[in-house]
């Protein structure tokens, strides 16, 4: 059984400010989809709308056409990890999972199985209040896996994990996707996503600014030029007139999809002073920064 997630014009406004605006995207089974964006870009609000915790102002987020609250057995259909705070500090990890498992009507052996899966068996009977952030994160992941669901929605799962934990998480997510599951992982830490995701959704200021395969986005990062100038507005205009795509990285820095030679010559023709002209190393980071930075021109 596979499940496709669809966001359709999903919008959430808190008063006058739009946390998420017209987000439309599809998340496919059998792949790890990275949900990227700077802090405050609207990732968590989007995921909370997907999971029925926050009511959208308009638009929908569905699992094979059904809203989360329309799923007949949510825990068996969607595994979720939100922030690492949803635990009573005085309760043991095992009891926390027993409560969720009981409420969801799962077999009584499930809590111990998922604790084993995330490597928490030796600590299962300790109070969660004594756990490190990394252990809580593993417990959250165990909770997500309770119902052996075809869909996993994980908000910043690598938070608090040590380097071994992150490596473990990466291969774990890959193996879940290889089993045909739909895996949606949000992150503001790029390297994590670069080594894990097949597809990428990039959000900035509540809007989806880019979606595609990771390979496509990485390719865009090659052959670019970073240019710094005291006259950013004029350079942006000149680049736009020449039909070159440029993104601002602040008021005086631009990333241009062209060679340094082409940019330098163009600047010289317009008499624009340059303080820096460099070929970018390429990779997702540049694309990410240019997509989520202030877009000028």
């Amino acid at each position: 059984m596979t499940t496709t997630l669809v966001f359709d014009a999903l919008t959430k406004r808190f008063g006058d400010t739009a946390a998420v605006e017209g987000l439309t995207a599809t998340v496919h089974p059998g792949r790890v989809t990275g949900f990227l964006g700077p802090n405050g870009a609207g990732k968590t609000t989007t995921l909370r709308m997907l999971l029925g915790l926050v009511r959208p102002t308009s638009g929908t987020a569905t699992f094979d056409g059904r809203r989360y609250d329309e799923l007949s057995a949510p825990v068996r259909e969607v595994g979720t990890l939100l922030e690492a705070t949803g635990f009573h500090p005085g309760r043991s990890a095992r009891n926390h999972l027993r409560i969720l498992s009981t409420a969801a009507g799962l077999p009584p052996g499930r809590p111990d199985q998922v604790l084993e899966l995330v490597g928490l068996t030796p600590e299962a009977r300790r109070k969660v209040g004594d756990y490190s952030l990394g252990m809580r994160q593993r417990l959250g992941l165990a909770a997500a896996l309770l119902g052996d669901p075809p869909v996993l929605v994980l908000d910043e799962p690598a938070n608090g994990l040590d380097p071994q934990g992150i490596r473990w998480l990466r291969s774990f997510l890959r193996s879940l996707a290889a089993e045909g599951r739909t895996v949606l992982v949000s992150s503001h830490v790029l390297p994590e996503i670069e080594q894990t995701a097949d597809d990428v959704l990039v959000v900035a200021k509540g809007r989806l600014v880019r979606s595609g395969t990771l390979a496509e986005l990485q390719a865009e990062g090659r052959g670019g030029t970073t240019v710094r100038t005291p006259d950013g507005e004029r350079l942006a205009q000149a680049l736009a007139d020449a039909g070159l795509v440029a993104h601002g990285l602040g008021s005086d820095e631009l990333v241009v999809q062209a060679s340094p030679a082409a940019v330098g010559e163009l600047a010289a023709r317009h008499g624009i002073v340059l303080h820096r002209l460099a070929e970018t190393a390429g990779g997702l980071e540049d694309v990410f920064l240019s997509l989520t930075g202030q877009v000028q021109a």
Partner: protein, 252 residues
């Protein structure tokens, strides 16, 4: 729904708070019985030592933990928001009304357990203390009625607590507000305006416990069934308001 109620009971069994509150409730029961019996026959006291109703009056203190159960109800709900466990709860059961109903049933069951232990403690304490004061221990029908009334009060105060917690959500505000209401506002209203006070949860409890002239309303009480119905109405109406108003809010 059975699974949800079992999960709610498991939540209560896997933390220490309910046990401490049970100890507190039993201490209140013992204090209440001792106060009722030991003041009997003193000058100005409402009861004589040889009052045939002395045992019934004493065991009415089995409901002494009603405020404790009220607070447990408030804690059950507000802790879900304080510790963020409301998120996993609503992820498992996205239809939030079902979570609320499961909590109401679970707390009523816990209230019943508290009540039965309280009733046993009250009867034993009464039976031991009354002869010590040379009083009369009468196991009449009224004793049984009062004990059943006390159990009913304890069963219904928990759901009222859940509803109050759902409406206020801030744990400290809800607990302090509930205590201020029960020990100050309600008592003042009952003492100063008995005809209004009898409609408060406390007034309704006094009716169910057949306190009669002993009640601070000086006998101005609803009939037993009226008090019982009024308590049920408080639990149902407050829960319904909470379900409509606060439980539908975004969980950010």
């Amino acid at each position: 729904m059975t699974a949800l109620v079992r999960a709610e009971l498991l939540k209560l069994r896997t933390v220490k708070l309910p046990l401490w509150l049970l100890v507190t409730a039993l201490a209140l029961v013992l204090l209440g019985v001792a106060a009722t019996v030991l003041t009997a026959g003193l000058e100005g006291a409402p009861l004589r030592r040889d009052d045939p109703q002395l045992m019934a009056r004493a065991v009415a203190n089995a409901s002494g933990g009603n405020v404790v159960v009220l607070i447990l109800g408030i804690m059950v709900l507000t802790q879900e928001f304080r510790f963020g466990t409301a998120t996993p709860s609503f992820l498992v059961t996205p239809k939030r009304g079902r979570v609320l109903v499961a909590k109401l049933i679970a707390i009523a069951l816990v209230g019943a357990v508290f009540a039965i232990i309280s009733a046993a403690v009250a009867v034993v304490a009464g039976a031991l203390l009354i002869p010590f004061k040379d009083g009369v221990v009468n196991y009449d029908e009224q004793v049984l009625q009062v004990l059943l009334g006390a159990i009913l009060v304890m069963v219904l105060y928990g759901p009222i607590g859940i509803a109050v917690g759902a409406l206020i959500r801030n744990q400290i505000a809800a607990v302090v507000g509930a205590l201020a209401f029960t020990f100050l506002a309600e008592q003042l209203l009952i003492a100063l305006l008995p005809s209004w006070g009898k409609w408060t949860p406390g007034g309704a409890s006094s009716a169910v416990l057949q306190l009669g002239d002993l009640a601070t309303t000086r006998g101005d009480l609803l009939p037993v069934w009226g008090g019982a119905l009024l308590l049920v109405a408080y639990a149902v109406v407050l829960s319904a308001i909470a379900a409509r108003l606060t439980l539908r809010r975004d969980l950010t």
